[in-house]
């Protein structure tokens, strides 16, 4: 099994890409396409699991399964991949959710069909996402980070809803806009290192003596790139449009994995390489984060479209993640990673459900729905469960991220304004009440009450299908397991985050 140490991460990253190439040469037969696509996502999942098996959890703070070989010698960019306790959970989340999306796509491919292209795009997306979480070289990271734009753009643009053209271009341009500043930041770091290295680990040393102005400017560049991806308030407006228009699996992948690339960028690149600037920026990030929490929740109350509501709820949930990061503490950042994974599982699940509601009722208008629990009780139960998980009920996955982030804010890292962060904590706490409010209100309107006359015949409205169960049960189980046994995740992250928080003295 020692081959996994050298090849595991690269296989997890590039097997899906290989799948894209093979799909291109396959005849356009739906069953063949489905089997091939799922097989490659499955192989990537196996590769990811093997990585997790080989990973030495007692050394979670160190880069493992590392490969570091020459790539573009002239500029010092290297093919450097590896995983530590912060990247492994996200890699696993990505390979799992991608595989489950494949399973779901057996059940349903949206209009206008074209399964071959659709499966290929999901696989391409997976390569970009997995690569982002294992890259340890800025150029490599950038390529993977940008790579995801293309398949997602086409997924929204071709398989999306009525307003797909606008949403897809907006998604593409907005994220690209941020990336330009991020790239400038990367280049500045490179130049500062004497034009020698893009290595994410090595750059930590080279910025040690950098001037405050340099650090802050570079951080600002990275901040724009990552904050748009997260997305943080007020850079979030691409998200509801993209989510509303995207096909179901597009929304699932966007929420479950793609958004985490932004938050991951903060903890992998921005914080460790530019710690002084991070302390300077932390209050701003914290303030924007809690504005996002309240803003996202308030906007949820105003939504009439179920999917758009879930999209806005992401703005609020990612606000908790960013608040955790902004505290620069051990608890806060652990909470942030927990929040990322939990949001991936829970919101991914909610988007699956929104998609499946649309398949059954041909509408996502909250006002038109009702009595889902009455009509299809199993489906309704899963919906209620996911909503309750999303509101951060203790004992389910969503709780730990919020709780640890808020605890971090109670006592932020030395050098941060304690009063400010306590105010942020209180506002975040109000956010948890608002979150519970809009989610339970949504459950009431969609799930409870009586079945509207329009759907009373029950024609085409069926309870959870076998393939849906297959795609959903792993997510549901993980939501419960991570809630009851948080060590499942913290055992992986604790050392790595401890090392990162150590930089900030907390």
């Amino acid at each position: 099994m020692s081959w996994v140490d050298d090849w595991g991460l690269s296989l997890a990253t590039f097997l899906p890409a290989l799948g894209v190439v093979i799909l291109m040469f396959l005849p356009n037969r739906e069953s063949l396409v489905k089997i091939t696509g799922t097989a490659f996502a499955g192989l990537a999942l196996i590769a990811g699991i093997l990585c997790a098996v080989r990973f030495d959890y007692s050394r979670g703070d160190q880069i493992q399964l590392e490969v570091d070989s020459t790539w573009i010698e002239t500029i010092g960019a290297r093919y450097h991949v590896g995983a530590d306790g912060m990247s492994l959970p996200l890699l696993l989340l990505s390979v799992l959710v991608c595989f489950l999306c494949m399973v779901y796509m057996w059940w349903h491919i949206p209009e206008p069909g074209k399964p071959k292209a659709f499966f290929a795009l999901v696989l391409l997306l997976e390569t970009g996402m997995n690569g982002t979480f294992v890259a340890l070289d800025l150029i490599l990271f950038f390529i993977f980070f940008e790579l995801v734009l293309v398949p997602m753009y086409f997924m929204i643009g071709i398989w999306g809803g009525p307003d797909r053209d606008y949403a897809s271009v907006k998604f593409f341009l907005y994220t690209l806009f941020g990336s330009i500043f991020m790239l400038l930041g990367f280049l500045a770091l490179w130049i500062h290192s004497g034009a020698e290295t893009f290595d994410i680990i090595a750059l930590r040393e080279s910025t040690a003596g950098a001037s405050e102005l340099f650090q802050n400017l570079v951080f600002l560049g990275l901040f724009l790139g990552f904050a748009i991806k997260v997305p943080m308030w007020p850079f979030h407006t691409w998200l509801p449009d993209a989510h509303t228009e995207a096909p179901t699996v597009g929304s699932v992948l966007l929420a479950a994995v793609l958004l985490k690339m932004g938050t991951y960028g903060f903890i992998r690149i921005a914080l460790p390489i530019l710690p002084d600037a991070a302390v300077t920026f932390a209050p701003v990030i914290g303030i924007l984060a809690v504005i996002g929490i309240i803003w996202g929740s308030l906007c949820c109350f105003a939504q009439t479209d179920l999917k758009r509501l879930i999209a806005f709820s992401s703005v609020g949930h990612m606000g908790f993640v960013m608040l955790g990061i902004a505290t620069l503490t051990d608890t806060g950042i652990n909470g942030a990673i927990f929040g990322m994974v939990a949001h991936g599982l829970i919101t991914g699940m909610l988007f699956f459900l929104a998609g499946s509601i649309h398949e059954r009722y041909h509408t996502r208008e909250i006002a038109a729905l009702g009595g889902v629990l009455k009509q299809i009780p199993r489906f309704g139960s899963v919906f209620s469960f996911a909503a309750i998980a999303s509101l951060g009920l203790p004992g389910l996955a969503g709780f730990w991220g919020e709780m640890l982030a808020l605890l971090g804010a109670y006592q932020p890292a030395p050098g941060l304004n304690v009063e400010l962060f306590r105010v942020l904590m209180v506002i975040g706490g109000i956010g948890t009440v608002l979150t519970a409010g809009y989610l339970l209100w949504t459950v009431q309107r969609v799930n409870l009450g009586t079945v509207p006359d329009k759907f009373a015949s029950g024609k085409g409205i069926f309870d959870v299908e076998r393939l849906e169960w297959t795609a959903w049960v792993p997510l549901l189980l993980l939501i419960v397991v991570a809630g009851f046994y948080p060590a499942l995740l913290t055992n992986v992250t604790a050392d790595a985050v401890g090392g990162l928080a150590g930089i900030f003295g907390a």
Partner: protein, 669 residues
């Protein structure tokens, strides 16, 4: 007169057998929840057998464990690491001592009776199996709450019972008011829970641990003190205010009566709503030692306000369950008052007696509702003829509630009032006189509304429709069990000879011997007051001698004020909920779409405009034979035309190509 003695608890002399097995007690209902949830419908009895069996075993274990404790077995505390970060360790553990032991017995006992009762009450329910699953989950969460060795675990149980409460209040969710009541309960308590969570944070930062025993120890030793501890205690109390329905967060409990009546008995009378009292009792040193008991003064004032305003509202309800709901709020306030004035034992004793007689009253009310198919006392009357068993047990419960000697409520309530009097005389609590005055008036009103409730339900002529009938044995047998207990349980707290004080007491609490002022004079006053109240109720509600409309008197505004529930609901709904739901949310969303997104779209539109302007200038001014710049602008201007023409795929292809070129240039430069 006997001298006051410092209480010495039961001395632990041996290792018990049962306390070591207490982890089974929460586990059993948790397992029965899973079994009923996934397989319940396959059982011929639709799942209630599993639930009753599990809770039955849990009850006998709890009882055995408690008997073990009071006969000298050692308490048990054990824990394992739940998860660990560099700066934080959280344990998963249990603490089994007298307080937990008592709560175990109360919770499993009432759960058992309610589950038996529900086989009759819920018989034809559409979601019978789910009902039993939810009851089991509730019991498991409640038991987790009272055995948790640390605050985070307690919070897990705390929210777990809240969730089950939400499920069960909204059990009949086809009707919107029921699901709205469920949401109201969840959200209102969550407001308090946020405070609770922050209180946990504050204690963790002060003490460096979530472990309750350690925190209490540190507070007793004065290792943690000062304003920080006071704030922590007050924040914890926010959670208690929400969960135990105290002013100003009590508004959810009357609405919670939308749930099935057995649920009201179990969750909204006997167990879940006492979680707040349990919290204060469990962390009593924190409340007691923070700034010399300032938090307890706050607890006392809140309790004094709550018991009085809730009792007044109980007096004007027509819905029998709402009478009981307001009564519960008022009685919970008595428990807080007991803790606040320093008679810890009495406060917890009232928790025990109230659990018994209020569960009895709720189950009795359920029996009545089952018979007449209405919650309203205006549809009842004369039922003593039709349902003798329900009638007799209900009267026992009501007399206990009214505090008549020697029923359960008498002892516990009088000890609390006496404790307040003593604290007032001794000057140990600044707010003791307020508590005393309020408790005394409330005792009188309690007797009045109890009598009114019984008269309107059981005397006079039947005013409803159909033929009321006695409930089946599955429902009346729990009534008899509870009725019997109501008669005897008070003697556990009998002055001098009562043993309860050796089980449950606060460190350093003083057991007072027989003192005439507290053991003769005061009871004569309270029982006398209750009898006067009965007489007034007889004249007023039975003989209808005073036929005046209170609303038309000069105190009519007070009636209106009470009728609107002191306008608290209107304030919360009109002042907070509605503004968030509509104007605030709509404004935020409008700003989102038009301001924030407006900037985004505006930037895009501006870029397109600038580019096409450039292009036009280029075409008009620059001779396009001369330089290649035109070609470039043509390209970019043309690119932007794609947006206008909506051909986004081509546009993206170009963009992607440029990124690719860009990367390639980097790679091979």
């Amino acid at each position: 007169m006997l001298a006051a003695e410092q209480i010495e608890g039961v001395e632990a002399t041996r290792t018990g057998l049962f306390p070591d097995l207490m982890w089974l007690v929460p586990l059993l209902p948790a397992l029965s929840f899973l079994v009923i949830l996934f397989f319940g419908k396959r059982f011929p009895d639709k799942g209630h057998g599993v639930g009753i069996l599990a809770i039955g075993i849990a009850f006998f274990l709890s009882l055995a464990g408690f008997i073990d404790l009071i006969t000298g077995a050692e308490t048990v505390e054990k824990h394992w690491v739940w998860f660990e970060l560099e700066t934080l360790e959280l344990t998963f553990g249990m603490n089994y001592d007298f307080l937990t032991g008592l709560m175990f017995v109360v919770v499993t006992f009432i759960s058992l009776l309610v589950q038996i009762y529900s086989t009759g009450y819920m018989l034809d329910d559409e979601r019978y199996t789910w009902f039993y699953a939810a009851l089991s989950l509730f019991t498991a969460s409640m038991l987790l709450l009272v055995t948790a060795d640390n605050l985070i675990m307690m919070l897990v149980g705390w929210e777990g019972v809240g969730l089950c409460s939400y499920f069960l209040i909204g059990h009949y969710w086809e009707e919107k008011p029921n699901s709205s009541a469920a949401i109201k309960a969840f959200i209102t308590t969550r407001v308090g829970d946020v405070g609770f969570m922050f209180g946990i944070f504050a204690l963790f930062i002060l003490a460096g641990t979530f472990n309750i025993t350690e925190i209490n120890h540190l507070a007793e030793e004065g290792e943690i003190a000062g304003a920080g501890l006071t704030i922590a205690a007050l924040l914890l109390f926010c959670g208690a205010i929400g969960k135990s329905a105290q002013f100003p967060l009590h508004v959810w409990l009357p609405d919670a009566m939308a749930g099935p009546t057995p649920v009201s008995a179990l969750i909204h009378a006997a167990t879940m709503v006492v979680a707040g009292i349990y919290l204060v009792a469990r962390l009593f040193p924190v409340f007691e030692f923070a700034s010399g008991g300032v938090p307890l003064e706050v607890v006392g004032v809140i309790a004094a306000i709550t018991m009085l305003i809730a009792a007044f509202l109980a007096l004007i309800q027509d819905d029998i369950k709402r009478v009981l709901a307001y009564s519960t709020i008022s009685q919970l306030a008595y428990m807080f008052a007991g803790l606040a004035v320093g008679v810890f034992t009495a406060g917890m004793f009232h928790l025990l007696t109230h659990a018994v007689f209020k569960a009895l009253l709720f189950l009795g009310a359920g029996s009545v509702i089952h018979a007449v198919h209405s919650n309203n006392m205006s549809d009842m009357g004369g039922l003593r003829k039709y349902m003798p068993a329900t009638f007799r047990t209900y009267i026992i419960g009501s007399l206990a509630l009214a505090g008549i000697f020697p029923l359960a409520g008498f002892f516990s309530k009088d000890e609390i009032i006496g404790g307040a009097l003593r604290a007032g005389i001794d000057g140990t609590r600044a707010t003791a006189w307020i508590v005393f005055g309020s408790a005394l008036i409330t005792a009188f009103i309690t007797a009045l509304y109890s009598a009114r409730m019984c008269i309107k339900t059981f005397w006079g002529e039947y005013r409803g429709h159909g033929h009321p009938h006695e409930s089946p044995g599955s429902m009346t047998s729990p009534l008899w069990v509870l009725g019997g207990l109501t008669l005897v349980v008070g003697f556990l707290g009998f002055p001098v000879i009562g043993v309860f004080k050796y089980w449950i007491f606060a460190e350093g609490e003083v057991a007072h011997g027989f003192e005439p002022l507290y053991n003769v004079v005061l009871p004569v006053i309270t029982v006398g007051g209750a009898l006067i109240a009965f007489f007034l109720a007889y004249k007023w509600f039975y003989r209808n001698e005073w036929r005046f409309d209170f609303r038309k008197t000069s105190f009519g505004w007070m009636y209106g004020f009470a009728e609107r529930k002191y306008y608290l609901d209107d304030l919360y709904l009109g002042g907070i909920v509605k503004p968030i739901q509509y104007p605030l949310a709509a404004a935020a969303y409008w700003a989102n779409q038009h301001v924030i997104d407006g900037i985004v779209d505006g930037t895009a539109r501006g870029t397109v405009g600038a580019a096409s302007g450039t292009y036009r200038a280029d075409q008009g001014v620059v001779d396009f034979g001369v330089n290649g710049a035109a070609g470039l602008t043509n390209f970019s201007g043309g690119l932007l035309r794609y947006i206008q023409s909506g051909n986004v795929q081509r546009y993206a292809a170009v963009l992607f190509a440029s990124v690719a070129v860009f990367v390639a240039v980097f790679a091979f430069a």
